[in-house]
Symmetry: C3
Subunit: 202 residues, 3 copies
Amino acid sequence: MSIFDFLDLLGTAAFAISGALFAIKKRMDTFGVLIIGFVTAVGGGTLRDMLVGADRITWMNDLNYLYVIIAAVILAIVLRNKIGYLSKSLFLFDTIGLGIFTIIGTEIGLQNGFHALICIILGMITATFGGVIRDTLSNEMPLIFHKEIYATACIIGAGTYLILDKFQIDQSLIHILTTLMVIAVRLIAVKFKLQLPTFYSN
Amino acid sequence: MSIFDFLDLLGTAAFAISGALFAIKKRMDTFGVLIIGFVTAVGGGTLRDMLVGADRITWMNDLNYLYVIIAAVILAIVLRNKIGYLSKSLFLFDTIGLGIFTIIGTEIGLQNGFHALICIILGMITATFGGVIRDTLSNEMPLIFHKEIYATACIIGAGTYLILDKFQIDQSLIHILTTLMVIAVRLIAVKFKLQLPTFYSN
Amino acid sequence: MSIFDFLDLLGTAAFAISGALFAIKKRMDTFGVLIIGFVTAVGGGTLRDMLVGADRITWMNDLNYLYVIIAAVILAIVLRNKIGYLSKSLFLFDTIGLGIFTIIGTEIGLQNGFHALICIILGMITATFGGVIRDTLSNEMPLIFHKEIYATACIIGAGTYLILDKFQIDQSLIHILTTLMVIAVRLIAVKFKLQLPTFYSN
């Protein structure tokens, strides 16, 4: 297993944990917690696979995702009251996942011959739509529509990837730089409480 | 038409009726009642067909589903005030549908060469995600995430199917035993008010 | 570009604007406004493409949709306080879009060899499910399930298309008559405050 595959599964686990904790807070039962953990982790990739017309949905073809998600959900249930101590690690893993998922979605777009703008959208969908489906199934307005610079980090990351991809740079280095860019944008946004503008007025 | 096909349509009708009654209670208009009846009945199968990359979505290729659903929704509208008397029959048909849909999803998974665990998930999605889509479109948190041992019955049923499938047993007998297992789990759960644990704590 | 393609993009713009205004009212941020504008405009067509198993999702293969939507969303943000003056034009464009989208969905159904009833459903999904996804993502019960004769106009329009298609009539004339039919049904419904019946009773 390459480091990239390892980080992909780490991100999957982080997404599953955040989904499971969210479902616990919404007072769902074991099945609901498992499903919400699951869709948070694989929902974005599933939608991407459907949009590009992939022969196979990723998680249906590689059971490692399923195993990692089940283990992560059990971990979240067991540690639910102590998770506060882990919130910094979780935030880091989640942000790494955001970067890795953005890269995977962008690359799959390129492999399928889509225009750069569509690849950016696919990277963003892969990284963020698991959370959108989690919120929608939990009867909440998706967080990323009104609160955090989260999708923006993915869009900037996917753009970075596409620009670096034009040069003769080693693929691993592109992966590292893109992930660091996503992490940097998100950390800066959280640190300085940056938010996208809203336009509401009475 | 085989008995299995007949029970499939009976389950479809039961799902459509339960969806239509739900939509009536949510004060939807004729169109809303029809659509919610429709997605409750075919939503799980549609998602399954999309996930396995089927050439054709089942209900788009066989108009019997459409006819049965329209008839069932009209029936639900006409009998909406007397449906209390029918609730036991409806519960039975709905539970039969749960069993049949679980079997269909599991079998389609096997035919497409998926791992047993993925087949169980496909059986569960086929049987329960019509209801998840119904609840989400009606702006409610899906019932199966917090209330009933419903998906669990499907998972146990799909597992039963896969185990029986390993032996030299007649296919019809496997279908009957699997459906009886789903019905039994659900009846026992309702009878003894069994619920999956939740994990919420302040 | 044919007049039909032009009207398709005009309808796309109208749908994107209505989605963006809706998102602004729900106090979403820039990203949310863009996404909701986007899914309102292309959500119905995307679902249709997935259901018929299209090789490519329309908007992923023709960037004009993306450009028109981004321009329309920016327009909606800039003009958000003056949009009252434009509401009649917007209503007209939106209704034209409804007609064009219905035709496109119905035609794609025919091209893929589906039964007339399925083609009507595909026309209706193309025209109305962008709005359903918009409402669901915004945590509201879809408007068309309880308020307006909107989907009904599409169903009547798609039926009109299929009937005219049986005769030796010029394709452009069929397009014009179908669109006029959709517009007429909607205008009459709004003018006379027609609504579909609901069935709720205590």
